[in-house]
């Protein structure tokens, strides 16, 4: 069995020594310096990679490099030497990404340690860039392995935007396996998480099936017609049936059938569906003829199906036949906030290339004197100084206040909602630029700034929806939380414990929004830092709670 070949770029030797002693990895010894089995600065690393890229599966890259100034890559014109040293890993990574975009790189730092510089968003948006969440052997082992496996699974042709969150990487790995064969797959996820897109663009495309992808959206079909749509019917089989109807099972033969909102199937039809899945044959309503089938079924639900089983709305035998072992949950966007920059950038790119928007984009490119094939990027926060060797691009810049609005939003409509917001943001921003040009204003810089007020307006609709949901949730929880108290503990310990439990419950209710907690606890949402400080003092860790 092959092992990942690991190259260490570090000004010290601790990590190289550790990798050398781990039998499951091969340490790539660059032999640049006889004393140390790693590369000790950026220029050495780039030279080595240029010559030996094929020998390397994963790079471990330290963040801080105490090396002479002339051996440092610069983070930008305004960066001090101290900053260049402390975040040298970022500067080296930028160079690596320019030349080796698919090379897996594990940065030897936790993402929260990057919070002083405006690079965390940039890095978390990159595919094949990973952070080390922990300082023990297992954390290192797991991170290297997942980086290596992701590189092997990389599917350049996929249209699915997976993001960088570990839960989505795991989902992709499992779906890649489940796509093969005829076992049904259950996809669960809130509205807008992309279940049908995933079913078509990933499961079906990777199933190896030559037949069609067929969708049946049960939310849009009258209950009394669901059986006919599923199984087909001969003329006269039911009132109003004036011609033979082919069912979706028959249409999807040798292909994939996606049953959307499967929880909506009436109980009496569930039994029939169970028989079809068991026997791999379908008999249209009113027909005596059975049709053999070879169909892969992907069923989706926006509610947990086991809940529907518990409440008697879904047959347990059908649930078991749909194969709950393959039940995959697509996490909502708010559970993977680290993915937001990635999606914002990707969806901006998709929006500017949308045929409906392309004409506006081209008008702006012409106005600023750029060729029509110039790339258009989203820049989050303050734009960075351009390097002389960077290709020209039109930048749509999202200032920090606007980005903050997007970050704080809870995205009840998930990726679909984000896609609409980014599409509208791009359209309105381009329209604004075109209007300016048409009214005689000159645009010289290839940079368009998004109006934060626009973002607020675009989010207003779903924010109202979210508030309704939140009110409903508060009401259902009756405004109380259960608290555990250890009998025999000191008064001080009890007070701390109760406070800790209260903070934890509030944190979960507020979906991690410290401003909302500050408003509740201190009556002022601007005091979120004080709340966060107390949160930390109570020994609560955002990352650990998120993992739960």
């Amino acid at each position: 069995m092959s092992k990942p070949r690991v190259l260490v770029i570090d000004d010290g030797t601790t990590y190289a020594d550790v990798i050398a002693q781990m039998p499951e990895f091969d340490l790539v010894d660059p032999q640049v310096d006889a004393q140390i089995p790693c590369l000790k600065d950026g220029p050495d690393a780039l030279t080595f990679l240029a010559a030996h890229r094929r020998r390397i599966d994963v790079v471990l890259l330290d963040m801080k490099f105490d090396v002479p100034q002339e051996r440092l890559f610069s983070l930008g014109e305004t960066a001090t030497t101290r900053q260049n040293k402390r975040y040298q890993g970022v500067a080296i990574l930028r160079e690596i990404r320019q030349r080796f975009p698919k090379l897996p790189v594990v940065l030897l730092t936790a993402v929260e340690d990057l919070s002083l510089v405006d690079v965390a968003d940039e890095l978390t948006a990159q595919s094949m860039t990973y952070f080390l969440d922990g300082d023990d052997l297992d954390a290192l082992r797991i991170r290297i392995n997942s980086a290596w496996r992701d590189a092997q699974d990389e599917l350049p042709e996929s249209r699915v935007l997976w993001g960088t969150d570990a839960s989505m990487r795991e989902l992709r790995r499992r779906l890649m396996v489940l796509a093969r064969g005829s076992m049904p797959v259950i996809l669960e996820g809130e509205t807008g998480t992309g279940k049908s897109f995933l079913a078509e663009q990933f499961i079906h495309l990777n199933s190896g099936r030559k037949g069609p992808f067929v969708v049946l959206d049960l939310a849009s079909i009258p209950t009394e017609l669901i059986a006919a749509h599923l199984f087909g019917a001969v003329r006269g089989a039911y009132t109003g049936s004036v011609a033979d109807r082919r069912g979706v099972f028959e249409m999807a033969d040798k292909g994939t059938l996606f049953i959307d909102e499967v929880q909506n199937i009436p109980l009496e039809v569930q039994k029939q569906l169970l028989l079809v899945l068991q026997d791999r044959r379908v008999r249209p309503l009113g027909s005596s003829k059975e049709i053999p089938l070879d169909v892969k079924v992907v069923a989706s639900s926006n509610l947990p199906l086991d809940d529907a089983v518990r409440t008697g709305r879904f047959r347990s035998d059908l649930y078991m036949r749909l194969n709950p072992a393959t039940r995959m949950r697509i996490p909502p966007l708010r559970e993977r906030p680290g993915d937001l920059p990635y999606f914002a950038r990707k969806l901006t790119e998709l929006a500017v290339n949308d045929p409906e928007v392309a004409e506006l984009r081209d008008q702006v490119l012409r106005a600023v004197g750029l060729p029509l094939d110039t790339a258009v990027h989203l820049v989050i926060g303050r734009p960075k100084p351009k390097r002389s060797d960077e290709p020209a691009a039109l930048e749509i810049t999202l200032p920090e206040p606007a980005w903050k609005l997007l970050r704080r939003h809870k995205w009840p409509g998930n990726i679909r909602e984000l896609q609409m917001v980014m599409h509208n943001m791009v359209t309105f921003t381009l329209v604004g630029a075109v209007d300016a040009v048409q009214s005689g204003m000159a645009i010289s810089a290839a940079r368009l700034q998004v109006d934060p007020g626009l973002i607020g307006q675009l989010l207003a609709g779903s924010t109202g929806l979210l508030e309704q949901k939140s009110q409903a949730r508060s009401a259902s929880e009756n405004g109380t939380i259960p608290v555990r108290i250890e009998v025999g503990a000191s008064l001080n310990a009890v007070a701390n414990s109760v406070e800790r439990q209260y903070f934890l419950a509030l944190f979960k209710t507020a979906d991690g929004d410290f401003s909302a907690m500050a408003k509740l606890l201190l009556g002022d949402e601007r005091k979120s830092r004080a709340v966060r400080l107390r949160f930390n003092q109570l020994g609560l860790k955002v990352r650990e709670i998120a993992k739960q």
């Binding site: 000004d11 010290g12 030797t13 601790t14 990590y15 550790v18 000790k40 963040m63 801080k64 490099f65 105490d66 090396v67 101290r82 402390r86 340690d113 002083l116 300082d135 023990d136 052997l137 290192l140 830092r529 004080a530 966060r532 400080l533 930390n536 003092q537």
Partner: protein
Amino acid sequence: MPTTGELLDALFDLKHDLGKYLFLPLGMLPREAPLTEVIAAARKGLLQTRIAGDLSRDVADLWREFTDAWADGLSRFDAFERLSRAVDGARAWQNRLTTESPAFSRDELESDFKAVGQAIGALIEEVRGE
């Protein structure tokens, strides 16, 4: 008086050089490692804490350099006292860690070493929240 930004700059350096590298050799040791390896890793963390190029500094050096430069600016923060205690706690292991050491708990040792990084993190949060 140093600015908040300068204090945070210094604390982030300390978190990397001291908080991370004090614990790293122990953290990277398998759980089943024999006592002699645990002692060697812990001593490396204490005595060869930050090696960059030809320069090696121990916990004492790093802490002295840091307090010489920043103690005045940080002494008003509660977490600074906690950090001082944590560094003392880690350094106290230096005399306990010999090959003739009586049995000791690796968990206790790791907890004391980790406490330094945690205390630096708490101080960063307090400075940020000011």
